[in-house]
C-alpha cells in the first residue's frame, strides 16, 4: 500500500486554533481513558462545543457517551477495542507498512521527524512514535503543518480505522469522525482510489509466489471423482483448468 498523496498540498479546513483543539481533543480521547477523565469531562465538553459542528458534534456525542457509561465501562470497552485486536490498531505505520521490514524504518522516520522539530518523544512509558494520539498531539502542539502532512499521508490507515470502528458500532467512531472532519473531504474518485489502496492490502514479500495463492493445484479439482455412495459435494462443478502462472523453469540456464 502506498501513502495517500492526494491531499498533501491541500489546506486545512479549520482555523489553526480550532484544528489544534480538535486534534488535541481527539488525541486525548483516542488514548486510554484515565482515572481523572471524569473530572475533566465538563471542560472537555466546553472545548468541543466551541469547535466547528462537523467536529464538535461527534466529539460532544462521544463525551456524553463517556459520561453516561462511566469510566470502568469505558476502560473495558477501550481495551476490548484497541488493545486486543489488530483491526482497530492506533499505530499508523501498521496500516501503511503492514508487516514488512519497512515498518521499523518507518517508525524511525517518525521519531526523526519529531526530533527535527525540536521535540523528543518521552521515554518513560513511551508510546510508539506512530501512535495516532502522539501524531495528533504533535500536530496540535508542535508542528501543525507537518502534522497535516503526516495525517494526510496516513489517510488510508485512518479510513481503515474508521471502517473497523464502524463495523464494531464503536463509540470511538465519533472521535475518528471528528478527526476526519478536520481533514480534506473525500470527493470525486477519492473513495474509489482509497478502496483500491485498501484492496491492495499491506505490501508483501512476493519472491517465489506465483499466481495461485494456495499450495493446492486447482487443476486437480477437476480430476477428483465424486465418491461412489452418491454423496457428491454440493455444487461441485469441476474447475476449468486455469493458468498456474509463471513457474521456475527447471534446468534453464541462469
Amino acid at each position: 500500500m502506498m501513502p495517500w498523496r492526494r491531499h498533501r498540498r491541500s489546506s486545512p479546513r479549520f482555523d489553526a486554533r480550532a484544528q489544534a483543539d480538535a486534534w488535541q481533543l481527539c488525541s486525548l480521547l483516542l488514548d486510554y481513558p484515565r482515572e481523572d477523565l471524569p473530572r475533566h469531562l465538563a471542560a472537555l465538553r466546553e472545548v468541543a462545543g466551541n469547535l466547528p459542528p462537523s467536529a464538535g458534534e461527534p466529539l460532544s456525542r462521544f463525551l456524553e457517551h463517556a459520561e453516561a457509561v462511566g469510566l470502568p465501562e469505558l476502560q473495558r470497552d477501550y481495551v476490548d477495542t484497541f488493545d486486543v485486536t489488530r483491526k482497530c490498531a492506533l499505530h499508523l505505520t501498521y496500516f501503511l507498512h503492514g508487516d514488512t521490514r519497512n515498518r521499523g524504518v518507518a517508525l524511525v522516520q517518525f521519531k526523526q521527524l519529531y526530533r527535527q522539530h525540536g521535540v523528543e518523544l518521552d521515554d518513560a512509558d513511551a508510546e510508539l512514535p506512530d501512535y495516532l494520539p502522539v501524531v495528533l498531539e504533535f500536530g496540535a502542539t508542535v508542528a501543525p503543518g507537518t502534522g497535516w502532512k503526516v495525517l494526510n499521508d496516513h489517510r488510508v490507515g485512518i479510513e481503515l480505522l474508521r471502517r473497523a470502528l464502524d463495523r464494531r458500532g464503536s463509540p470511538w467512531l465519533d472521535v475518528v469522525a471528528a478527526l476526519r472532519a478536520t481533514l480534506p473531504d473525500l470527493d470525486g474518485d477519492d473513495e474509489q482510489a482509497l478502496a483500491r489502496l485498501i484492496a491492495q492490502g499491506p505490501p508483501q514479500e512476493t519472491v517465489g509466489i506465483d499466481d495461485a495463492p494456495y499450495a493446492m493445484d486447482p487443476d486437480l479439482d477437476g480430476l477428483r471423482t465424486p465418491p461412489a455412495d452418491g454423496c457428491a459435494p454440493p455444487g461441485s462443478t469441476p474447475h476449468a483448468p486455469q493458468s498456474l502462472g509463471p513457474t521456475i523453469p527447471v534446468g534453464a540456464p541462469r
Binding site: 488535541q24 473495558r76 479439482d221
Partner: protein, 1235 residues
C-alpha cells in the same frame, strides 16, 4: 506520559487543552539533521540507505519453545528495532565437517514483528469486574489481603469475576496496583489454604533459564510447587528412563553427520528442525543412507532415499518387524562378535530372569534374579544384595554378580565397584544349549482392534538356580519377537512371510501397510551398517511417534534396534529424540537457583499431567476401569486410573499437590502440638485416617488449586489437553464439554465422589506475556513481559553445544518488564504483606522417592506393598513419601530471591548423584557480584540483576566451569573405580561468563552432568562416557534395560517391548470408529484419526499469530485432510468444516491434499483461537483449539516409582499428556460463518 490532571483546563480553554501534551518533551536537535525525510525524486533510495545506517547491532536469540537456539543480530536505529539477521560466528566444528553457521529460519527472522505488534501486551491488565471489587474492598478494609479475602470468600463476587473469564472486559492498571493485588492473593492463599495450593508453570528452561528461574524461585521460596512441562507436553519419552535411567540425552545435530545410516522416524526435520536440517542433507553427500518413516508425504520424505509409509500409531509393530530380522539373522542364524561384546557389557540381555509357574503348564516371565535370592552365594549377604541382579558366567558355568548395578551405586561396599568392567565374568546371552531344558512361557500380544491381551506360548531354554527356574533376557526377547530355534516348544511363526504371529515382517506389514520386503531390507541394512561402521546407525525420533498413549512401547521397540546393535553411546549412533525438553546444559546451577535449593530443600516439584487430570476433574470422565484402557490383562480389574494414582501418591511414587486435606503449614503446627517429628506425625495420622491426601478428595474446596501463574507459557492456547475441561472446572467459564461422567461402577473406590464436581476452582490466573494469547484472555491478571530482544538471559539446546545470550536491543517498551523484574516486584510486595499476615512458619513438605538417590531402592523386586492395606508399615521415604519439615520466613522472600543462600556451601550441590563442594565458587561469586549487607542474606552473593543470575547459573555448573566438572568426575571416580577426570582436564581452568556469551556462542565443557564426551572437540553424543569409560547407566542393572520387572509393568504385559495399537475410542468412549460415515444434523460426517503434529509456520502458538507466518501459511486454523475423506463429506479445499467429539468443537477451514492418507487428519499443533476462529455451528460459541478435542489419559506404568530407574524426578519420568489416540467426526459447515 504525564497525567492530564497537570493540564490546567480552567484558564482559556483551548490554550489549556494544548497544554495537555503528554507525549513530547523538548529535546536536542541533531546538528546535522542528516535524516531529513525526502519528498519526491529518488525517495525510494532512502530505504536502502537507511537500512544500513543502524546505530547498533545487538546479539540475541529466541526463547522458550524454539529448540533451534540460533544466535541473531538485532539491528537498532534510534531506539527502534528495525530487523534481525542471522549471526555467523559459531565456533568451528573442525576441518572435516560442515559448520553450524549460519542458523536461523523464517520464524526467527519474523520475530521483531512482535515488538511493535498491535496485539502486544503493553500495559498491566486486570479484569474490570475484579479490579473494581478489589479497589472497593481495599478502601473498605485498608488491607489488600483482607480485601482479596473478602472477594474470594463471597460466593457471588467470586462467581461474577470467574464467569467473566475469556469474555473480555480487561482494563489497564498500574504495576503498583496489580502487584499489590497479586501479592495479596498469594499471601491470603498461603495463610488460608497453604502454599501448596499455589502453582507456577513455565516451560523449557533451556531457552531462557533466568526467565524461568524468576517465578520458579519465588514459588519454591514460598513453598508452592512448580509444574513440570516435559511429561505434560507428552514429549517426555518414558522409554528413556525405563531403558537408560536417564532422561533425553541425545546427540547434537552435528553428530548426524557422523552416522552411516539415518532413519527419521516421525520427525519431520526440515520442518521442525529447520536450522539443523542441513546436516542431514550434507551427510547424504558423504554416503549416508537416509530413511523417512511418516504416514504422510511429509517434507522430509523428499530428502530420503526411502519412504516408509506406515499407518499412524503402528510404528512399534514396524520396529518389531525389523527387530525380528535383526535377531533372526544376527543373533540366531549367526552371531556377531561386535553385537555379543556390546550386549554382554552394556545391556541387560544376559541377565537372568526368574520364571513363575502359571499353573496351566506355562510360565510367566518374573523378576530379575538378584544376589539376595541366591542362597549360599558369596554375594548373597552383601550390602544391597536385593539390588544386584545376576548373570550366568560362561567361563565358570556359575551364576555371577557383575559390578555396576544400583546395589553398588550406594553404600560403602559398592565404592569403586559401580562400573561396567566384567573382570573375568563372561556373561552368556542365551541359555540355548546350556542344559537342554526348555519351558513354555506365555507372552502377551495386543495386536487386535480392542488392544486386548491374548497370550502366546513360546519356549525358552532354562536352567535351575536353587528352586528357581531362570532364563536370560535375550531368550525372552527372541520368544517375544517370534524368533524360533530348533527344539524349543511352543507356537512359532513359520518364517518372515507368516503374518499370523508377532513379530515377523509379514505380521508387521499387515499392521503398518509397509511392504514386507522393505521391512526386511531396512532391518538387514540397519544391522549390517552397525557392524560395518562400529555402531554408527542413528534414529531421529519425533513427536509423530511420541505423543501416543503407548508411546513408551513404540519407543522401546525402536530403542531395541539402536541398543541391541551396539549403536548407543557412539558418535553417529543411537537414538536422537528431539521433542520438547531441550537440554539445559548448565543444569546444576540452573536447578539449584531456579528451585531455590540454595535456601530451602526439598523443593516442591509436581508432574503437571496428573495435576490437571485431578484438578480439571478429567478423571471423572473416565467411563471405564484402568484394566479396560490397558489391554484387559486383569492387572487393574475394577480399579479406576484415579485409584491407581491415589495409590502411587500414598506410596511415594509420584508427587501430588496440594498435599493433604489441610494446609501443609497447619500439619506442621499439629505435629509440633503433638510433640512429634513431622514424618512420624504424618505417618501415624495417615495410618489412623485422621489425615488424608488431598488427591483422595479433590473436589473439596479446601483441596482446590487456588492460584496459577503462567509465564513464558500459553497453557490455554497450546498445551492444555482437555482444554474445555480446564474452562469448565478450573476456570468456571463457558466450555464445550459434552462427555458424560463415570457411572457408579466405574468410579474410584479410594477417592471421594461428591455429586457435583468443582467449577471455577481457581481464584487467580496470572499470565505474564508479551503477546495476547488464549491464556491472557482467560487470565484475571495479565502482566506485560519483555520480549526476547529486551532482556538478558542465556540459551542452550540439545541441537548444538554452545551457550549464547539474550541481550536487550532496546529497553522494554510501554510498561513491559522482564520476567525477572516482574517476579522481583511481586516478591517484594509479598514480603511486605507477609509481615502482618504470615511471619515465619514451619512447612511440612512431602516429596516422592527420588531417582539417583538411595530412595530409589525402596521397592525390592518391584513388588508393590501398600501400607493402607496393612501389608507394610507407613515409613516416610520408604513405603510412603519423604516427609520433611522446613522453615519459611515469608517476610524475607525477596531478600532470599535476590541472593545466593548458604546451603550451597553448607550442604554442597548434588546433580544426578554426583556431589560438589562449591565454597570456592560461591566466594568467586561474592567477588564478582558483590555481597548483601545486613538482613537474612548478610554476606551472601547478590543475584539482583538478570546478568548476575545468568553468571551464577553458569558458574555453578560443570559444563561452564571446568573446575566443577573435574571435581565431579573425581567424585565419580571414587564410586566407579575408573578414570574419568581427564575428560574435562583440558578445560579445568575455563569459566564461561555472561560476557563471554555476549561476545560469541561458547562451546561447553564435558561434565558429569551429562553422559557424553566433547573432549578434544568431539561432537556430543550421549552415553559415550558410559560405553568408553565403563560408567554404569542409572538403572537397576547399570545396563540398558530391555526387560522391566516392576509389578505394574508386568501386570500390564509390558515386561518386554510389545506392539500396542492406538486406544480404541469407540470401546472406551463411544466415538465413531475411524472411517465410519454418519448423518450429522443433516450433513454427511466422517470419523477420522485426529493428529496434531508440529507446524512449519509456528512454534507451538508462537508465530502462529505473526502475520508473516500467517501469510506464508493459509492463515487461521486449518485441518489437513485427504482428498478421499474430503470427497466423502463433500468438502473442497478451503471450505469451512467442523470437527466435533465428546471433548469439544473445532471450527476451521479444510486443506485438502493428496499428501494425506485416508482416515487421518492433521490439525497443526497450537493454532490459537485468537486468529480467525468463528463461532461454531454446533454450539454458537467460539471454536476451540487443537486440544479442545483431546483429553488427559493417564498410563499407569508412568506413575510407577520408588524402584531403581522407575523413580521420580522433575521432568525425568511421569505420566504424559498424550494426544495422538483421539478420533473426531468431521463435517462440512453449512451455516454462514460469523464471528
Amino acid at each position: 506520559m504525564s497525567d492530564i490532571t497537570s493540564a490546567r483546563l480552567d484558564g482559556p480553554l483551548s490554550d489549556a487543552l494544548v497544554g495537555t501534551r503528554r507525549f513530547f518533551t523538548r529535546g536536542r536537535v541533531s546538528d546535522d539533521r542528516r535524516t531529513l525525510s525526502l519528498e519526491g525524486g529518488r525517495s525510494g533510495d532512502s530505504f536502502y540507505r537507511d537500512r544500513w545506517s543502524h546505530d547498533k547491532v545487538v546479539r540475541s536469540t529466541h526463547g522458550v519453545n524454539c529448540t533451534g537456539s540460533c544466535s541473531w543480530k538485532v539491528y537498532v536505529k534510534d531506539g527502534i528495532i528495525t530487523w534481525e539477521a542471522q549471526q555467523t560466528d559459531y565456533p568451528s566444528t573442525g576441518a572435516d565437517k560442515p559448520e553450524y553457521e549460519p542458523r536461523g529460519c523464517p520464524r526467527g527472522a519474523a520475530f521483531s514483528w512482535y515488538t511493535y505488534s498491535p496485539t502486544r501486551v503493553r500495559y498491566p491488565y486486570v479484569r474490570g469486574t475484579l479490579l473494581e471489587m478489589f479497589r472497593a474492598a481495599r478502601q473498605q478494609y485498608g488491607d489488600p489481603v483482607l480485601a482479596w479475602a473478602s472477594i474470594v470468600q463471597d460466593e457471588e463476587k467470586a462467581r461474577a469475576y470467574k464467569a467473566a473469564r475469556g469474555k473480555g472486559g480487561l482494563v489497564r492498571a498500574s504495576w503498583e496496583d496489580v502487584v499489590d493485588l497479586v501479592a495479596a492473593a498469594h499471601v491470603y492463599t498461603v495463610k488460608r489454604f497453604g502454599p501448596d495450593r499455589i502453582a507456577g508453570f513455565s516451560p523449557i528452561p533451556a531457552m531462557s533459564p533466568v526467565s524461568y528461574a524468576s517465578g520458579a524461585r519465588f514459588h519454591e521460596l514460598i513453598g508452592a510447587p512448580m509444574l513440570s512441562f516435559y511429561d505434560w507436553y507428552a514429549d517426555l519419552p518414558n522409554a528413556s528412563p525405563q531403558m537408560f535411567g536417564d532422561q533425553t540425552d541425545v546427540p547434537e545435530s552435528g553428530d548426524w553427520w557422523d552416522a552411516g545410516y539415518l532413519i527419521m522416524w516421525g520427525s519431520n526435520v526440515p520442518l521442525t528442525r529447520t536450522p539443523d536440517a542441513h546436516w542431514m542433507v550434507e551427510a547424504r553427500y558423504r554416503g549416508q543412507k537416509v530413511i523417512a518413516v511418516a504416514p504422510d508425504y511429509a517434507d522430509n520424505v523428499k530428502f530420503a532415499d526411502e519412504w516408509v509409509a506406515s499407518a499412524p500409531g503402528t510404528d512399534g509393530a514396524l520396529a518389531m518387524g525389523m527387530g525380528h530380522v535383526v535377531m533372526r539373522e544376527f543373533f540366531v542364524d549367526r552371531q556377531v562378535d561386535f553385537f555379543t561384546d556390546y550386549n554382554q557389557r552394556f545391556t541387560d540381555l544376559p541377565y537372568l530372569v526368574t520364571l513363575d509357574d502359571a499353573g496351566d503348564g506355562s510360565f510367566r516371565p518374573g523378576k530379575f534374579l538378584v544376589a539376595g535370592d541366591l542362597e549360599g552365594h558369596p554375594e548373597a549377604g552383601s550390602e544391597n544384595a536385593m539390588w544386584k541382579p545376576a548373570v550366568l558366567d560362561g567361563a565358570t558355568g556359575e551364576v555371577a554378580i557383575p559390578n555396576g548395578s544400583i546395589g553398588h551405586r550406594f553404600g560403602e561396599e559398592g565404592e569403586g565397584r559401580w562400573n561396567l568392567d566384567l573382570g573375568d565374568i563372561r556373561p552368556v546371552l542365551s541359555l540355548y544349549g546350556d542344559t537342554g531344558e526348555a519351558v513354555e512361557v506365555a507372552l502377551p500380544r495386543f495386536d487386535n482392534l480392542e488392544g486386548s491381551q491374548v497370550l502366546e506360548r513360546r519356549g525358552v531354554p532354562v536352567r535351575r538356580v536353587g528352586d528357581r527356574l531362570v532364563t536370560t533376557v535375550l531368550d525372552l526377547m527372541l520368544a517375544q519377537y517370534g524368533v524360533g530355534r530348533d527344539g524349543l516348544p511352543g507356537a512359532w511363526p513359520s518364517g518372515y512371510d507368516d503374518p499370523s504371529a508377532p513379530a515377523t515382517p509379514a505380521w508387521a506389514a499387515e499392521i503398518t501397510g509397509v511392504p514386507v520386503e522393505q521391512i526386511i531390507r531396512i532391518g538387514r541394512e540397519w544391522a549390517q551398517n552397525a557392524i560395518d561402521t562400529q555402531g554408527r546407525g542413528m534414529i531421529l525420533m519425533g513427536a509423530g511417534i511420541n505423543h501416543w498413549y503407548h508411546s513408551d512401547q513404540i519407543y522401546r521397540a525402536l530403542l531395541v534396534l539402536t541398543s541391541i546393535t551396539g549403536c548407543q553411546g557412539r558418535n553417529g549412533g543411537g537414538w536422537a529424540h528431539y521433542v520438547g525438553q531441550e537440554k539445559v546444559r548448565p543444569i546444576m546451577g540452573f536447578q539449584h537457583l531456579a528451585f531455590a535449593l540454595d535456601w530451602v530443600r526439598p523443593p516442591r516439584h509436581m508432574n503437571q499431567t496428573s495435576y490437571w487430570y485431578v484438578h480439571t476433574s478429567q478423571y471423572r470422565y473416565d467411563t471405564f476401569d484402568a484394566d479396560a484402557v490397558n489391554g484387559a490383562t486383569g492387572a487393574f480389574t475394577g480399579r479406576s486410573t484415579m485409584d491407581l494414582l491415589a495409590q502411587a501418591v500414598r506410596l511415594g511414587w509420584v508427587p501430588s499437590y496440594p498435599q493433604f486435606d489441610r494446609s501443609s503449614l497447619q500439619v506442621a503446627d499439629e505435629a509440633a502440638e503433638a510433640g512429634m517429628a513431622a514424618g512420624e506425625y504424618v505417618a501415624s495420622r495417615l495410618k489412623d485416617g485422621t489425615l488424608r491426601f488431598a488427591v483422595e478428595d479433590p473436589e473439596h474446596p479446601d483441596n482446590y488449586p487456588r492460584i496459577l501463574s503462567l509465564w513464558r507459557s500459553n497453557l490455554l492456547g497450546s498445551s492444555a489437553k482437555g482444554n474445555e475441561y480446564f474452562l469448565k472446572h478450573l476456570l468456571g467459564t463457558d466450555h464445550a464439554v459434552k462427555a458424560t461422567q463415570a457411572a457408579p461402577e466405574h468410579r474410584p473406590q479410594d477417592v471421594a465422589w461428591p455429586e457435583q464436581a468443582g467449577e471455577g476452582k481457581l481464584d487467580l490466573l496470572l499470565t505474564l506475556d508479551f503477546r495476547m494469547t488464549s491464556s491472557t484472555l482467560f487470565s484475571d491478571v495479565v502482566l506485560p513481559a519483555a520480549t526476547w530482544y529486551e532482556k538478558h538471559d542465556i540459551n542452550t539446546t540439545d541441537m548444538h553445544p554452545f551457550i549464547h545470550s539474550f541481550n536487550p536491543a532496546i529497553a522494554p517498551p510501554w510498561q513491559a518488564k522482564s520476567d525477572w523484574e516482574a517476579w522481583k516486584a511481586i516478591a517484594r510486595r509479598f514480603s511486605q504483606l507477609a509481615v502482618d499476615h504470615l511471619g515465619t512458619r514451619k512447612d511440612v513438605v512431602t516429596k516422592p522417592l527420588w531417582h539417583d538417590t538411595p530412595e530409589a531402592m525402596a521397592t525390592v523386586h518391584g513388588r508393590v506393598q501398600d501400607w493402607r492395606t496393612g501389608e507394610v508399615e507407613p515409613v516416610p521415604g520408604r513405603t510412603m513419601p519423604v516427609v520433611a519439615e522446613v522453615e519459611r520466613d515469608y517476610t524475607t522472600v525477596y531478600d532470599k530471591m535476590t541472593s545466593i543462600g548458604p546451603l550451597l556451601e553448607k550442604v554442597g550441590m548434588l546433580t544426578k548423584g554426583v556431589k560438589y563442594e562449591v565454597g570456592r565458587e560461591v566466594d568467586i561469586l561474592r567477588r564478582r557480584n558483590g555481597t548483601v549487607r545486613g538482613g537474612i542474606a548478610d554476606g551472601q552473593p547478590r543475584i539482583e540483576t538478570d546478568i548476575q543470575v545468568a553468571d551464577a547459573i553458569m558458574h555453578l555448573s560443570g559444563v561452564s566451569n571446568g573446575h566443577l566438572a573435574t571435581q565431579g568426575f573425581r567424585f565419580l571416580e571414587k564410586r566407579t573405580g575408573t578414570q574419568l577426570h581427564d575428560l574435562s582436564a583440558e578445560h579445568e581452568g575455563k569459566q564461561i561468563t555472561f560476557a563471554d556469551t555476549q561476545a560469541a556462542p561458547v562451546p561447553v565443557i564435558t561434565s558429569p552432568e551429562w553422559s557424553g564426551s566433547e573432549s578434544g572437540g568431539r561432537r556430543y553424543a550421549p552415553f559415550t562416557i558410559n560405553i568408553e569409560r565403563s560408567k554404569p547407566f542409572h538403572t537397576l542393572t547399570g545396563r540398558q534395560h530391555f526387560y522391566l520387572d516392576h509389578d505394574w509393568v508386568q501386570g500390564m504385559g509390558e515386561s518386554l517391548p510389545t506392539y500396542r495399537p492406538p486406544l480404541n475410542m469407540t470401546t472406551l468412549f463411544g466415538e465413531d470408529p475411524v472411517g465410519q460415515q454418519s448423518d450429522h444434523d443433516g450433513a454427511v460426517a466422517v470419523a477420522v484419526r485426529y493428529l496434531t503434529p508440529h507446524s512449519k509456520w509456528s512454534i507451538h502458538s508462537e508465530y502462529q499469530d505473526n502475520l508473516f507466518m500467517l501469510s506464508l501459511s493459509r492463515g487461521g486454523q486449518t485441518i489437513w485432510m485427504s482428498d478421499v475423506d474430503a470427497a466423502k463429506i463433500g468438502v473442497r479445499d478451503n471450505d469451512w468444516i467442523e470437527a466435533v467429539n465428546r471433548n469439544g468443537v473445532v471450527a476451521c477451514r479444510a486443506i485438502v491434499s493428496h499428501r494425506m492418507p485416508e482416515g487421518t487428519v492433521f490439525m497443526h499443533h497450537a493454532q490459537d483461537r485468537l486468529i480467525d476462529v468463528p463461532l461454531t455451528e454446533t454450539d454458537n460459541k467460539r471454536g476451540g483449539i487443537h486440544n479442545s478435542l483431546t483429553r488427559i489419559l493417564l498410563k499407569p506404568s508412568h506413575i510407577v516409582g520408588g524402584y531403581a530407574q522407575f523413580s521420580y524426578f522433575f521432568n525425568y519420568i511421569g505420566p504424559i499428556g498424550s494426544n495422538r489416540d483421539e478420533v473426531t467426526v468431521i463435517r462440512r459447515r453449512t451455516a454462514p460463518v460469523t464471528y
